[in-house]
């Protein structure tokens, strides 16, 4: 039997079984002939022809198409006339003045009352079946207003993207869309009741139009569709979206393509319309004051977003809104609400705090996008992927949980927690170059605000940053210190990862590079020795390099152009706070760049100038002790670690607690990889550049580690870890270049690349694993105070006394320190750690150490404000000699240590009368008729200040420093201290805010984006 050939069925029919069965409805189809389309035209010469072509292709076609020329000043009227001649348009109405969209529509209707009115913009091109779909929607839903889907103009080789599908409005006037602009149209939308939408393509039932009085003239250009829909809903009509009906909306007014006459700034008119709508609509319209306040905040936001034009438009709209209350009143009167209007409209309005949720969603989406780009999406593409269709490949996406970058980052966090097991919960973590953290957040801020005695300007800026970041770590400087130690390698790896990804490395290679960087940070001893500056530089260095790379390649225009140099400013500022020499070195490089390319003056001014301004309050210190620029934070806190000799080549510049063999394996591997990468570089010039990059910091570091440099209160060595990190970075360059150059996939070069990447990653694993195993065995560790509680109580009491501490080592040498309530802690290593009277303390230490105790020991201690002497590890004979000194009382602390209490209750402050000199022990001065003086046991500085009972005291210039005169009759609570550096804090805070504002994304119109796309 021969079967009859089957008819070929269209492809679509083969998939018809997927479509849900549409129940037979009893709606009556609406005759397209009952539709009058009104298209308002204004200065649309560039795209009007295409628009008219779309109208000509309509099927079904409306009964009547009227074009209203709204006082165009270009050739648009001529085009309209020709279209009318050709029969595309049924009529052309010419307006002599542009009175807005609504007035133009009324002019187009010319008093007629068609059954259906189809509103068209001159830049909203319908598809041939758009009207049919709209009428179908109206018939099926019974809606009086049908809102189509608006699509963005089509891009070549790109699917249709959504622009709008209905709209609502928040109480503050913000537009709420039901689609994310730019989303691909996958026919995923379904019809929904809606408050309103754009008038572009809106289909309105004639009876509803008549009932509502058409579009409100008070809002001539924008939000008129939302207002119409709101009134329709209030009147009991259904307003719905019908996604099957679509138009391509050019949004010529918003993007700036349309040159209006007279010019109407889009944002201003849109905002004015929004203000009037929310002030006029609803059972509880938004108050005028609230709207004006909101406009002010929005204007400020635009200003901070580097969009002064939008800020100006915002304020202009607010001004006009406030000046024309009659328009709002008239708009409010244009409503005839049904009894259930509120119940109908409320569900269509955004929920409370929708704006906040929307902002959080956007922020989260942005973070997710960045995360995906960083750790998931590979950056390289092949020619096939770029020229093929959707099935030719594309951006390679790896499973998130196997991403090597994520493995490195999470792994280092876990390793850090394991390694820091001895620090978690410990008190007084310190050691090496790391002094104990201040006991509270306010003390941390005080450490910055309190300037150094004897030197002008403010304190070191790293103290400001330490206090600032401590604020966000449980408001605890101690917690911040532990977190920094534990997380520094992970953060360093993250920074390196960001840099390497920006430079175009694949994820695997970038992850290996990041692991190597973190491993180097660990094995250089930066973490184990408490090198705060080294830790900071390991994070800020790669970020600074990344920012500089971004500046070099940035082709943005306008305010967006400021972002990249602002990024350089931020990271350079942070780097310079840790290691000041970075700033002058980069300034020189920037100036050279500016000479070679004069267009870079703006980048240099922002990128380098702002950090100089930020450091300005600290410049007096740097000018007086220039060598301080070569040192890191708290330079005088560092023990005199023996400078590295041969161990320099194994990276053992600081004690890390990690076995030396790990260093040797790691740095030998890195050196071999670097040498191999170097030899693989084809150009000799590049090789020499890399070698120079290794040579300069290596030699500079080796030299600077040998000299003793002067700083405030003593001598210290230059920061070595900064140079070491530069050497490591230079060694990594040929390694990463080699990995970047080699192929990928299954080619032999690709296999070699993967093998090399794996080996390098293993080196990083070795370093991290050793750290996890060993933990914090270097100088850094828990170091609680050995002083008994009663001694600490006296130190922190109103007496603010000092304690002289001596610890004798088994070999007879002495460790000593002078402590008080504020030292040792962050910042006290910026000057002599013994503070004031370091020389006097040194002499006392010798006397106690050799047990040749002077008779006037007690009076000397009293004059220095020393209330206790701690002596540990001394023989009984030595202690007995000290005991022979008058005015001391002995108490045992441990089997090995004693504390001597000075019997005279020494205090940092003494009250001197004519015949007496007594310590102030309770912080109060009893009133007296006689003139007295207060003497502080401190070094002289004009910024000392004191007050009694709220009355400021004057300095006594004819008396020893630091002396204040207490006039007769004065009495009360005594307060004293150095004048805080509030001005410096304000200055640096303002500059930081300025940098962050410049770094923030520019809030602007879509003009530049659209132009880039097309």
């Amino acid at each position: 039997m021969t079967e009859e050939p089957q008819e070929a069925r269209p492809v679509d029919d083969l998939w018809a079984w997927l479509d849900p069965e549409t129940p037979e409805s009893d709606h009556r189809a609406i005759d397209p002939g009952t539709v009058t389309a009104v298209m308002v035209v204004h200065n649309s010469r560039a795209w009007l022809a295409r628009q008219l072509l779309s109208l000509a292709r309509l099927d079904p076609r409306p009964g009547r198409i009227v074009a209203v020329d709204n006082a165009s000043t270009d050739d648009s009227p001529a085009l309209l006339a020709r279209a009318a001649d050709e029969g595309v348009l049924d009529a052309v109405v010419t307006q002599s003045h542009n009175k807005g969209f609504g007035a133009a529509v009324e002019a187009g209707l010319a008093g007629a009352a068609p059954e259906w009115i189809w509103l068209l913009h001159d830049d909203s091109a319908p598809f041939p079946d758009t009207l049919g779909s709209l009428l179908d929607g109206a018939a099926q839903t019974g809606a009086a207003v049908v809102v189509p889907t608006l699509l963005q103009p089509r891009r070549r080789n790109y699917p249709e993207t959504l622009s709008e599908a209905g709209a609502s409005i928040t109480r503050s006037g913000r537009r709420m869309s039901f689609v994310d602009e730019g989303d691909i149209d996958q026919q995923q939308l379904t019809p929904e009741p809606v408050l309103g939408g754009s008038t572009a393509g809106m289909l309105v039932a004639g009876h509803a139009w008549q009932e509502l009085g058409g579009l409100a003239p008070e809002i001539p250009l924008h939000r008129d569709g939302v207002d119409l829909g709101w009134r329709a809903n209030e009147a009991g009509h259904l307003v719905t979206t019908w996604p099957r009906a679509a138009l391509t909306h050019r949004q010529a007014g918003r993007t700036g393509e349309r040159v209006s006459s007279p010019p109407v700034p889009w944002h201003r008119s849109d905002r004015l319309a929004a203000l009037r709508v929310v002030a006029a609509r609803g059972n509880r319209p938004t108050g005028t004051l609230a709207l004006l306040g909101g406009s002010g905040l929005r204007a400020l936001g635009f200003l901070l977003g580097k969009s002064p034009a939008l800020a100006r438009a915002e304020l202009g709209a607010a001004r006009t809104f406030a000046a024309t209350p009659e328009a709002t009143t008239a708009l409010a009167a244009r409503t005839t609400p049904a009894p259930d209007a509120s119940a109908r409209v409320t569900p269509l309005l955004p929920a409370r705090f929708w704006s906040v949720r929307d902002g959080v969603d956007r922020f989260g989406a942005g973070v997710a996008d960045r995360y995906r780009d960083l750790v998931v999406t590979d950056s390289s593409t092949s020619i096939d992927e770029m020229t093929g269709d959707d099935f030719a490949g594309g951006q390679t996406r790896r499973r998130t949980w196997l991403s090597p970058a994520l493995l490195v980052l999470v792994g280092l966090v876990i390793v850090g927690l394991v390694a820091g097991r001895s620090l978690l919960g410990a008190v007084g973590v310190a050691g090496g170059g790391m002094l104990p953290a201040p006991p509270s957040l306010s003390a941390a801020w005080q450490a910055y605000l309190q300037p150094d005695v004897g030197v002008g300007g403010a304190n070191a800026p790293w103290l400001l940053l330490a206090a600032f970041f401590s604020t966000f770590v449980f408001a605890s400087p101690e917690a911040f210190a532990v977190a920094a130690l534990v997380l520094a390698p992970a953060l360093a790896a993250g920074a390196a990862l960001l840099l390497l990804r920006r430079l175009g490395l694949r994820i695997g290679a970038a992850a290996a590079g990041a692991a190597l960087w973190a491993g180097a940070v660990l094995l250089l001893g930066i973490v184990g020795a408490g090198d705060l500056s080294g830790m900071a530089l390991s994070i800020t260095g790669p970020m600074l390099a990344r920012s500089i790379h971004r500046v070099a390649l940035d082709e943005s225009v306008g305010a967006e152009r400021l972002r990249s140099p602002a990024g350089v400013a931020l990271w350079l500022l942070l780097s310079a706070a840790a290691w000041p020499v970075v700033l002058p070195l980069l300034s020189i490089a920037a100036l050279v760049w500016m000479v070679l390319d004069r267009r870079r003056w703006g980048d240099v001014a922002i990128g380098v100038g702002l950090p100089w301004l930020f450091l300005a309050p600290w410049l007096p210190t740097l000018v007086r002790w220039p060598a301080r620029a070569l040192m890191g934070a708290d330079p005088l806190a560092w023990p005199d670690f023996p400078p590295a000799t041969f161990a320099l080549l194994a990276g053992r510049i600081l004690p890390s607690g990690i076995p030396p063999w790990v260093n040797m394996v790691f740095f030998a591997g890195l050196a071999v990889a670097a040498a191999a990468g170097l030899l693989a570089m084809p150009r000799q010039r590049h090789r020499m550049l890399v070698l120079a990059g290794v040579a300069v910091p290596l030699l500079a570091g080796a030299l600077s580690s040998k000299v003793a440099l002067a700083t405030h209160g003593g001598q210290a060595r230059a920061l070595l870890s900064g140079w070491a990190l530069l050497v490591v970075a230079a060694l990594l360059v040929p390694v990463m270049v080699g990995l970047r150059r080699t192929g990928h996939g299954d080619a032999p070069a690709g296999r070699r690349s993967r093998a090399a990447t794996s080996v390098l990653a293993l080196l990083g694993v070795l370093a991290a694993g050793a750290w996890a195993w060993v933990g914090f065995q270097g100088p850094v560790g828990p170091s609680p105070s050995v002083l008994p509680g009663y001694v600490r109580d006296v130190m922190t009491s109103e007496r603010q006394s000092r304690v002289l501490m001596l610890q004798q080592r088994p070999d007879g040498t002495l460790d000593w320190n002078a402590v008080d309530a504020s030292q040792p802690q962050w910042g006290t290593g910026e000057r002599n750690p013994a503070g004031a009277y370091a020389d006097e303390f040194g002499t006392l230490v010798q006397s106690l150490g050799v047990a040749v105790v002077p008779e006037d020991l007690a009076s000397t201690l009293t004059a220095l404000g020393v209330s206790h002497i701690y002596m540990g590890g001394f023989s009984e004979e030595s202690l007995a000699s000290v005991g022979n000194a008058p005015g001391l009382t002995r108490a045992a602390v441990t089997d090995d240590a004693v504390v001597w209490t000075v019997a005279a209750l020494p205090s940092r402050i003494r009250l001197v009368a004519s015949q007496t000199s007594e310590p102030v022990v309770d912080g109060t001065i009893a009133p007296s008729d006689a003139t007295r003086h207060i003497v502080l046991a401190e070094d002289d500085d004009p910024r000392w200040q004191a007050s009694v009972g709220g009355t400021a005291l004057q300095r006594s210039p004819d008396r020893p420093p630091v002396t204040f005169t207490v006039p007769g009759g004065a009495g009360g609570h005594l307060e004293w201290g150095m004048k805080p550096s509030w001005a410096a804090l304000g200055w640096q805070g303002a500059l930081a805010v300025l940098i962050l504002v410049l770094m923030a994304p520019t809030l602007g119109s879509t003009t530049s984006a659209r132009r880039v796309r097309e």
Partner: protein, 421 residues
């Protein structure tokens, strides 16, 4: 070729870095080396009757609680019935001479300490004079050791003294037994000078001053022809002590009979009579023990006794002594010692003589008898020696020679450690 250049450059780089790393670094001035200033404070305790204060090397002489006077050179202050405080450098020496009823006694000025021990022949007719020379309160505890062990006495603890005050405590009230008594004092607050004053049969007070416990003691002052030479030993420790005595007499060092392996029970005091075995020679004693003990010497003729506490050996010894007397210097070394003696009569002539002190022996040299304002005696040698000026014209008195050498103090390596807290 390019690879060769690259590798060579790399090696040169590594070599340069290595070479620089081997440079000696400039030391950081983290350690402090300072010779601390030495000041000395001595307390001169009075006897019952007024005496004359002899002071040399003082900057100030201050009656207890009173106003000080500036002293320049050897200074005599007569009619001193109260305690005085003298301040000076490392060469400070001083003592109180009390004369009366044909006899006299010498009480050396001693430094206030937080602890010390006095050993006296007996508690009868003995009191303790506790002096607090400082401007802060002192609290002293006494521990008493007799021949039968520690003596628990009511009132021996918590003896409080106000600033610049003295207190006399009758030892006979605290102790009823006979025999030598060791009194250890410790100041739980402040410090004090403690002197034991004994009324001898002739009614003149003799004084014993405190010393520190140790295993090595030097006792000068057994004069030639002494009929009494009693070594008093107190063992305040918890274990039995074994004490040995070496006598430095007229010829060689020897161990006197009864001076070998003297056993001293814990918490006890003993007296060892050495007079018969010293052969009436001018002698200095060297007492050694296996654990810390305190010692003193009671010597004289019949009932005319003088007490002396251990002294220090030094290359340069001196004293400001009354007129007359015999200088006895003992050479504890194993070779002869050349010494230079300067006898500087105050307001008179100064004579310098050279002498040889045979190894292990004591040299006795008479001093100028015509020195109404006293004489400053200085002995210098190139090895340590010890001695005293023994007077007998006005009763036996022993003026111990003190070290007048500047202390050699080497600064200790002290490094400031900012994380010490």
């Amino acid at each position: 070729m390019r690879n060769v250049i690259t590798l060579v450059t790399l090696l040169v780089l590594v070599g340069a870095g290595l070479g620089l790393s081997l440079l000696r670094p400039t030391p950081l001035p983290r350690t402090i080396e300072v010779v601390p200033p030495a000041t000395t404070k001595l307390v001169c305790a009075p006897m019952a009757q007024a005496g004359t204060l002899f002071v040399d090397g003082a900057d100030t002489i201050t009656p207890l609680g009173g106003d000080g006077i500036v002293a320049v050179g050897p200074t005599q202050v007569p009619d001193q019935s109260g305690a005085s405080v003298i301040l000076g450098g490392s060469a400070l020496v001083g003592g109180m001479l009390t004369l009366g009823d044909g006899t006299g006694g010498w009480t050396p000025c001693t430094a206030p300490t937080s602890q010390g021990t006095i050993v006296v022949p007996g508690a009868a007719d003995t009191d303790l004079l506790v002096v607090n020379p400082d401007s802060s309160e002192a609290v002293v505890d006494l521990s008493l050791y007799g021949t039968n062990g520690e003596i628990v006495a009511l009132g021996a603890r918590g003896i409080a003294l106000g600033p610049h005050s003295t207190r006399a405590i009758a030892l006979s009230v605290l102790v009823e037994q006979d025999g030598p008594i060791g009194v250890s004092f410790s100041a739980s607050r402040g410090r004090a000078t403690v002197v034991a004053r004994t009324t001898t049969a002739r009614g003149v007070l003799e004084t014993a001053t405190a010393s520190t416990q140790g295993t090595d003691h030097w006792l000068p002052g057994v004069q030639a022809g002494a009929t009494v030479a009693s070594l008093l030993v107190t063992n305040p420790g918890n274990e039995r002590a074994v004490v040995d005595v070496t006598a430095h007499g007229a010829s060689v060092a020897y161990q006197p009979e009864g001076g070998a392996g003297v056993s001293v029970p814990a918490h006890s005091s003993i007296a060892v009579d050495l007079a018969p075995s010293l052969a009436g020679e001018a002698t200095g004693l060297h007492v050694t023990a296996d654990i810390d003990v305190a010692v003193s010497l009671s010597t004289g003729n019949g009932s005319d006794l003088a007490f002396t506490a251990p002294v220090t050996t030094s290359n340069r010894l001196g004293a400001y002594a009354p007129a007359g007397g015999v200088l006895q210097v003992s050479n504890p070394g194993e070779t002869d010692l050349e010494v230079s003696l300067v006898d500087d009569v105050v307001d008179g002539r100064s004579t310098t003589t050279e002498h040889t002190v045979p190894a292990g022996s004591t040299l006795a040299l008479p001093l100028e008898s015509s020195a109404p304002r006293g004489q400053v005696v200085t002995i210098t040698a190139n090895r340590p020696l010890f001695g005293a000026v023994v007077g007998s014209d006005t009763g036996v008195s022993i003026v111990p020679l003190s070290s007048r050498a500047a202390p050699e103090v080497s600064p200790v390596d002290a490094e400031i450690v900012p994380t010490l807290r």
